[in-house]
């Protein structure tokens, strides 16, 4: 028995750990540190139809137990990802989650149609929540009808399951989650970053050239846990949980809240070995908690009975 294995739509994962989109590039850099085959899956950087340079620098700032980023979806564009990035990743036996962003529904549809046909793309993650791009992004993620329509259109063209990545910058996350589930989403990713800001006291200007940026890291973990706890109880589709995961304990907390797998973002910057370290430490933690299989953790904080498999 592989006690770490989890099965999600399109994703047969050796373990519930994947690096989060935007925090792992397209894998090459971290391949210098460890064998990517250790990972449960890899969520690659957002792909847009055309190449993007993104926002001016500085693009990151530190906050207490968190960081702000305003990368602005820099990426080589659909063609670049298809011709350079994905083929390179093909040497690994790891399912790829391709994160898709855009500014109009048509962009998402085009990008998804092509990306989802790539051999090693096992799932699409719809980034309807990135707060950095002025057009699009923010609106898709905060209005249930718009999120639902986008989901529907993208589902129509996708060859693989579609996960919708929700924005936490909403009053009622449950409403959005239900809307995209009804529109055909196969799963949810949550949460993306909270919109935040830091100001340089001397220059009297925002530290980020872009002004606002997305807050990630342990600071946002309690918000992520709460939202996953709320949503997982009312949807049937699985959730990939993220937001401040640094340790095996954090993974267990997310799964007890209701996540079926998790993504690790900011922590990669603090420690490039964080993903393999967590994977290595999980079994001992399961022993300590007297849990046979990670799957037995899912929703453990609210499920009536926790049947061990």
């Amino acid at each position: 028995m592989n006690r770490l294995k989890v099965e999600l739509p399109g994703l047969s994962m050796k373990n519930p750990i994947m690096p989060a989109s935007g925090c792992f590039g397209f894998g090459k850099e971290y391949a210098n540190y460890y064998d990517l085959d250790l990972l449960g899956a890899i969520a690659i950087k957002a792909t847009t139809d055309k190449p993007r340079f993104g926002n001016p620098t500085p693009r990151v700032a530190e906050t207490s137990a968190g960081m702000l980023n305003a990368i602005g979806l820099q990426n080589p564009g659909l063609d670049g990802v298809l011709s350079n990035e994905l083929p390179w990743l093909n040497q690994y036996d790891v399912p790829i989650v391709a994160n898709v962003a855009g500014t109009e529904i048509a962009d998402y549809v085009e990008t998804t149609a092509k990306l989802s046909k790539a051999e090693n793309v096992h799932a699409i993650e719809l980034n309807i929540s990135c707060p950095n791009v002025k057009q699009g992004g923010i609106a898709f993620g905060t209005i249930p009808e718009v999120a639902a329509e986008l989901t529907r259109e993208v589902k129509n063209v996708s060859d693989v399951p579609v996960y919708v990545k929700l924005s936490p910058n909403v009053a009622d996350i449950v409403e959005i989650a239900k809307a995209v589930e009804k529109a055909g989403a196969d799963g949810l990713s949550m949460i993306n970053t909270l919109l935040g800001m830091r100001i340089d006291l001397v220059r009297r200007k925002p530290i980020l050239a872009n002004g606002y940026g997305g807050l990630s890291g342990p600071a946002i973990k309690p918000v992520a846990i709460r939202m996953i706890h709320q949503v997982s109880q009312v949807v049937e589709i699985p959730i990939i949980g993220m937001g401040g995961i640094y340790t095996a304990e954090d993974v267990v907390e997310f799964m007890l809240a209701g996540a079926s797998a998790v993504a690790v973002g900011t922590a990669n910057f603090t420690d490039p070995y964080v993903c393999p370290t967590i994977i290595e430490e999980l079994p001992a933690l399961l022993d300590e908690l007297e849990v046979d299989h990670v799957q037995d953790l899912i929703g453990g904080s609210w499920k009536k009975c926790n049947v061990h498999s």
Partner: protein, 259 residues
């Protein structure tokens, strides 16, 4: 082979106003052969400082496995780092990035090393390496004020050294560019590290020379994965070409990237 190791602090002391000299030991030091590369330091394991701090390699003793870093204790992280004492451990990732090309200067040629403020440290290891290869080294080091000057003696041992302060409280008065002109320094290659305005000035004056500049940018990962540290490429019409300071740099030949 890039790596991460808990180095042991051998000594830490203030060598100028707020400028700390930190000497650490560990087997990682053996890999630090390229001047201009940097280390990515995790100040401590509490999770309120998530991001590592990039600090240049200032000197390495490969045989004794020690590395010297000089840094300014200014913000939250470097201030906390400055409190660490002998015997304590520090989590170091590196060496990272591409350093100064030593072979850009032939034996017998003259290299002018121009440093500004906390950009001075990487030039020290560079100078030692160049000298070892038979290159004639000249140093022009710019600081704000007398209290900020450091490593003058160390540099002097390797070659001619000019110190200039903006307020004239030590050495000559003005900027590094003034000194180069006034002293009419001639050289075959120039290597520089310091504030962007200084690099921009040097780049425009000496664009026809073999000039290498080391850039600074706020970093997320330090390893090329997060796209925090990019800069535009000179002459790129698409606007989407880029270089990452952390992996393509921090050292670039003049004219490659937009400052």
């Amino acid at each position: 082979m890039i790596k991460k190791e808990n180095l042991t602090i051998k000594s830490q002391k203030e060598i100028a106003s707020n400028i700390m000299e930190l000497i650490c030991s560990g087997s990682l030091a053996k890999q630090m052969t390229e001047p201009g590369q940097f280390l990515h330091l995790r100040v401590d394991t509490s999770d309120d400082l998530l991001l590592r701090r990039p600090i240049s390699i200032c000197d390495v003793d490969v045989d004794n496995e020690t590395v010297t870093m000089l840094y300014r204790a200014e913000g939250k992280g470097t201030k906390r780092l400055s409190l660490k004492q002998e015997g304590e451990k520090i989590d170091v990732l590196g060496p990272l990035g591409n350093g100064f090309p030593l072979d850009a200067t032939e034996q017998g040629e003259t290299a002018l090393l121009v440093g500004g403020g906390i950009g001075v440290p990487p030039l020290y290891y560079l100078s030692k390496q160049l000298k070892k290869r038979g290159v004639n080294v000249i140093h022009v080091l710019g600081f704000q004020s007398a209290e900020n000057v450091f490593y003058e003696e160390e540099f002097s041992k390797l070659g001619e050294t000019y110190v200039v302060t903006a307020d004239g409280t030590y050495g000559s008065t003005g900027y590094v560019t003034d000194v180069i002109k006034e002293k009419d320094l001639s050289f075959d290659t120039m290597y520089s590290c310091g504030p962007t305005p200084m690099l921009a000035a040097l780049s425009s004056i000496y664009s026809d020379k073999r000039l290498y500049i080391s850039l600074e940018e706020r970093m997320g990962c330090g390893v090329g994965a997060c796209f925090a540290c990019v800069c535009h490429v000179v002459g790129d019409e698409s606007g989407t070409s880029y270089r990452k300071v952390c992996t393509d740099g921090p050292v670039f030949p003049v004219g490659e990237v937009v400052l």
